[in-house]
Amino acid sequence: MHRIDCPWCGLRDEAEFQYQGDASVAPPPLEGDIDEAMAAVYLRENPRGWHQEWWHHVAGCRQYVRVLRHTGSHEVAATGWPDSRLEPPA
């Protein structure tokens, strides 16, 4: 069971959130070519390890929370605002 520390609401249960995928993906540049668009829409690193991701606090403040979570252990190392820089533990 995950517990996610929402920067606005505090430590909350996973069930209040809706997962929204890989937060390391940047939107493709508007003047970019099809390869860049295709990479942004479809291609994913899908790491076994630390993963930057979006969790939408739908049953709370409805903000997007940036979360650094391990895809093997499910440990949540850090959470922050959308523009926070989250570093994996050493």
Binding site: M1, H2, E14, A15, Q18, Y19, G21, D22, I34, D35, M38, A39, V41, Y42, L43, R44, E45, N46, R48, H51, E53, R69, T71, G72, S73, H74
Partner: protein, 416 residues
């Protein structure tokens, strides 16, 4: 040894001490014509058809754990070909035809049970959508019947048809759908492939794919280097990791799917049934337990275990339609890592790396595909081109915009 009733009697009289092992435990050779990574259903079926249909027998299947330890031994055993889109329909129907002859083909009792798959609908709009899918199936020569609520009642009498919020209005039935003993599929293909000369090597993890001027030359493993011009990956939830060894990024995310089994009870449900107003599906095993599941846990994960919120959601779905379940105890629960694609359809393909072939993206529904997947992947490897039945599953569809989005949910694997 050929299995038969006579063998059973003979071995029985000898106290079952004379059965030989089902496949050898060979030492890895220094080189192979084809190395298959992953000893799940798909890898083993591919090896079998490479040897049987294409005469390529100097083949190794490398499995990091044991045969049957991956999703082939973790799924809920449902087979069906009740799809809407043409490419999916024809492919899964071919799989269904292979299932229908598999026991004779492999000389192994895989317990193929065509007990029917029934999808319930709960609104007029859903009935129209199911009728459309049923018509698409019939146009493709697949069996489909639209049942009204009395038809559903006759088939599954213990359903709560009058649920205040989601009354059952009817169902789409595929009578030839059903279940197959999943472990037996892995063992049956392993035994048959081994008999044709394929080396099945367990406890052997592939850790790297060597290339020379772009072309595949071999694999590094925990049991040493093996030279080969062709590496074929069929590693389910680990697809992105193995593709990474060949320098490829894929339209794939790994997610957890759970399954559950209750204590055994007397016969209660003799078909596979899916709830249409939530994600819940159930069948009854030959031992009497209800085998059921539902949604993905809903976040990237390589952990072969599930979490409580998804469990609660599955149980709630079950209680809404099959309240008798509430009296049963859940005996076991587990999770498997599934490779979700961005359009929910699989990938069987040659790649930009010469000599590297990929079979994956089976999402939560690849067990039913096993024979056809092996059939088409073997063809792809042997001929270096897609099989006509899997031509729509090549990786370039994402670049070309020819997605096979059966459900129409877009590139959000966690809600597929």
């Amino acid at each position: 040894m050929r299995y038969s009733v006579w063998q059973l009697v003979k071995q029985g009289l000898r106290g079952h001490t004379g059965w030989p092992r089902m496949w050898r435990d060979p030492q890895p050779k220094s080189s192979y014509d084809v190395v298959i990574v992953g000893g799940g259903g798909h890898g083993l079926a591919t090896a079998y058809y490479l040897a049987r249909e294409h005469g390529i027998r100097n083949v190794a299947v490398l499995e990091k754990g044991w045969i049957g330890g991956g999703n082939v031994g973790r799924n809920t055993t449902i087979i069906r070909s009740n799809y809407l889109l043409g490419a999916n329909l024809h492919f899964y129907e071919y799989a269904m035809k292979l299932w229908e002859g598999l026991e004779r083909e492999l000389n192994f009792n895989t317990m193929v049970s065509q007990r029917g798959v029934l999808n319930l609908f709960h609104s007029d709009a859903q009935r129209d959508a199911y009728a459309r899918r049923g018509n698409a199936m019939r146009l493709a020569g697949v069996d489909a019947e639209l049942l009204d609520v009395d038809g559903v009642r006759a088939l599954v009498p213990m359903l709560d048809l009058d649920n205040a919020r989601f009354p059952v209005l009817g169902g789409l039935l595929q009578p030839r759908g059903g279940t197959v003993r999943h472990d037996a599929v892995a063992w049956g293909y392993a035994r048959a492939a081994d008999a044709l000369g394929v080396d099945i090597i367990q406890n052997c993890e592939v850790t790297g794919i060597r290339r020379d001027q772009g072309r595949v030359t071999g694999v590094d493993t925990t049991r040493g280097f093996m030279a080969t011009p062709r590496v074929a990956a069929a590693v389910a939830g680990h697809t992105s990791r193995v593709a990474d060894m060949a320098g490829l990024r894929l339209p794939v995310e790994s997610h957890v799917l759970q399954a559950f089994v209750t204590e055994g009870v007397k016969p209660l449900l003799d078909t596979v049934m899916t709830f249409g107003a939530g994600h819940f599906y159930v069948s009854q095993s030959d031992k009497g337990g209800l085998v059921f599941g539902g949604d993905l846990d809903g976040y990237n994960s390589y952990a072969q275990r599930g979490n409580l919120p998804a469990m609660e959601d599955v149980m709630a779905g079950g209680m809404a339609v099959l309240p008798v379940m509430g009296r049963l105890r859940v005996l076991r629960q587990w999770g498997g890592v599934v490779d979700m694609t961005m359009d929910g359809s699989p990938i069987i393909t040659c790649t930009d790396v010469p000599g590297f072939y990929l079979n994956g993206g089976w999402c939560y529904g690849g067990f039913k595909a096993t024979p056809a997947s092996g059939w088409c992947f073997a063809h792809t490897i042997a001929r270096d081109e897609p099989h006509p039945l899997s031509a729509a599953f090549t990786i370039d569809r994402f670049h070309e915009g020819r997605l096979l989005d059966e459900k129409g949910v877009g590139p959000n694997p966690w809600i597929q």
